[in-house]
Symmetry: C2
Subunit: 348 residues, 2 copies
């Protein structure tokens, strides 16, 4: 894999969306969120996804211009109808709005419906942390797993994120989906001829399986068994039921170019300064992190990390050295550029 300069990757990705008719500022922001995921070492949420989003713009399932309406705009709380606009743009506007509301009222909540897939959640909760807030975001998603006791995909992996500033450290950022593992890990086991642990998947008849082939024709299971099922449902209550978004199989994934997404979000910001002097909060976070990291290590472990720390390190490394972009992703971006008449940036 060649290493790619993140600035060049951003320039090309933004140019693709702009050429597709997305406003310049929105194109730049979409590119920023995608490149951020690559910088953090999560290429599954990186620029690899740009062609999916471009296909959704072309099909009309997602609108080029994001023009949300606000059916409720009431002080600390609001309801945004994203009107099938771009998920990245809608989620960022919702988080900015929640932060403004938090600065005025101590807490702000924005419920979003008729939105779209918005990439890595940490992009948005980090905005809150950077503004001196604790941020939370939950999204409902297309079916990924059965309800507990079922055997057919119906419940989304419904990802959620909580972020907070951590003093002199990079922010604390929890960002997870509620399935036991991503499907890619099962592909990986199949390639290597290895069994998968029990608890990852059911076969097509709904029996627990350790055979990756049976798992791939069956369904993924929630993390932590029935607990992960319950958490995924709680996130759908917050992101979907409250907002009036699509629910369960009414939500479509980003790789289904023709189908409207239907997803919703729950966005919350808490202004830390209403509860504590920001320097006291920062000192508490630093002391807490220091004590976590000083714990005696388990066999084979080299270090204790807090959530978000690994991503911050990967970002520093990739900014310095470049992003190891998969050849297939590079080729897909070049094909989009060629189709859209976008020149590859100098130095690409």
């Amino acid at each position: 894999m060649r290493l790619t300069d993140p600035a060049l990757l951003h320039r090309l990705t933004a140019a693709l969306f702009a050429a597709e008719g997305v406003p310049e500022a929105d194109s730049a922001w979409i590119a920023e969120t995608l490149v951020a995921a690559d910088l953090w070492g999560h290429p599954s949420h990186g620029v690899m996804r740009a062609p999916w989003y471009l296909a959704r713009l072309r099909s009309g399932a997602m609108r080029r211009r994001t023009a949300p309406e606000w059916p409720v705009d009431a002080g600390a709380v609001a309801l945004m109808d994203a009107k099938e606009g771009i998920g990245q743009v809608a989620a960022a506007e919702a988080m900015r709005s929640a932060i403004r509301r938090a600065k005025a009222h101590g807490v702000g909540v924005v419920s979003v419906r008729n939105s779209n897939h918005h990439g890595a959640l940490g992009c948005y909760t980090r905005m809150a942390a950077a503004a001196g807030c604790i941020g939370m975001l939950a999204t409902n998603a297309s079916p990924a797993m059965p309800p507990w006791g079922g055997r057919a995909k119906l419940v989304g992996n419904n990802p959620w994120s909580v972020a907070a500033p951590a003093g002199r450290h990079p922010p604390f950022v929890l960002d997870l989906a509620n399935t036991a593992v991503a499907r890619g890990k099962i592909f990986d086991a199949r390639q290597k001829g290895l069994p998968i642990p029990e608890g990852w998947a059911l076969d097509p008849e709904g029996r627990p399986t350790t055979d990756p082939l049976a798992a791939l024709s069956g369904v993924l299971l929630p993390m932590a068994g029935h607990k992960g099922y319950g958490i995924a449902l709680a996130m759908e209550v917050l992101a979907g039921v409250l907002s009036g978004a699509g629910l369960l199989d009414e939500v479509a994934g980003p790789y289904q170019a023709e189908r409207r997404s239907g997803c919703g979000h729950f966005v919350l910001a808490l202004d830390i300064s209403r509860f504590a002097a920001p320097e006291d909060f920062a000192a508490r976070m630093e002391g807490w992190i220091a004590r976590l990291k000083a714990a005696p290590l388990a066999a084979g472990a080299r270090e204790i990390l807090y959530p978000g720390e690994g991503e911050a390190r990967a970002e520093a490394r990739h900014r310095a050295e470049g992003i190891p972009l998969a050849e297939a992703t590079r080729a897909a971006l070049e094909a989009e550029a060629s189709a859209l008449g976008v020149a590859l940036p100098e130095g690409w």
Copy 2:
């Protein structure tokens, strides 16, 4: 196990706390939360705990009169200092306050410090659901597991709960701790001479183990591996760092009679009526639940439930038939009654 009338169990439990010097109304509320856990089929959080709380009152680690102060009282948000009062009383007052704030501002957040163990979280989030709100509660707790990559107990199981009204159904109530399993399940495997699944615990050297004996002298692991570790930390940021409560091993469990608890809570209520007509929200919840329950069943499964449904059924059954109280619990309550000069209620 004899079946015990829940009304008698409530009367006796409340009388014990009143005899110990807790105000009548607070004694009745403590009894209500403890009996509720028994009714829901969770005796680990039921009246079995009454002697622990009584011991904490006697040691002075927990105060008989709960007189919180409010260092911050600012519209939608507040900070409560529970001043080492009774956890059940402080958490209920915090939730009532959050609900009032939600009715005024759409959302209410109360951050609580210097509180105590408050029993089953569902007691408090159900208050929000009953008031037409989505409720959330998180608490930090005494060390139960190592940080991910560590081998010594440092991070609490930091339980959290989300509840919402569900139309004509009993409320949706997620209520969970972030450890893979409760310690009792490992005791159970030891009694039966069975191995435990990998992922439940480490041995004293910090190696994964399937031996229940090694696990009992080692440490429990978080649910879902590093994800559960991250969730437990996020709940401590919300409940502990924000409020200025104790963190990590500064928090003591309820069975340590002499140590102040130091725990904190994060309490949130969202007024659903600000976002949707309550009848629309109810209809969405009912339709969503109907679709979850209609999914095709996995091998061996008899039914699909939503979180809170099993507890509601157990409550109906136990109200009709009585609570199967363990003989040891019955004897412990009788011993407390004898020591406090409390007469056993008629029909006991």
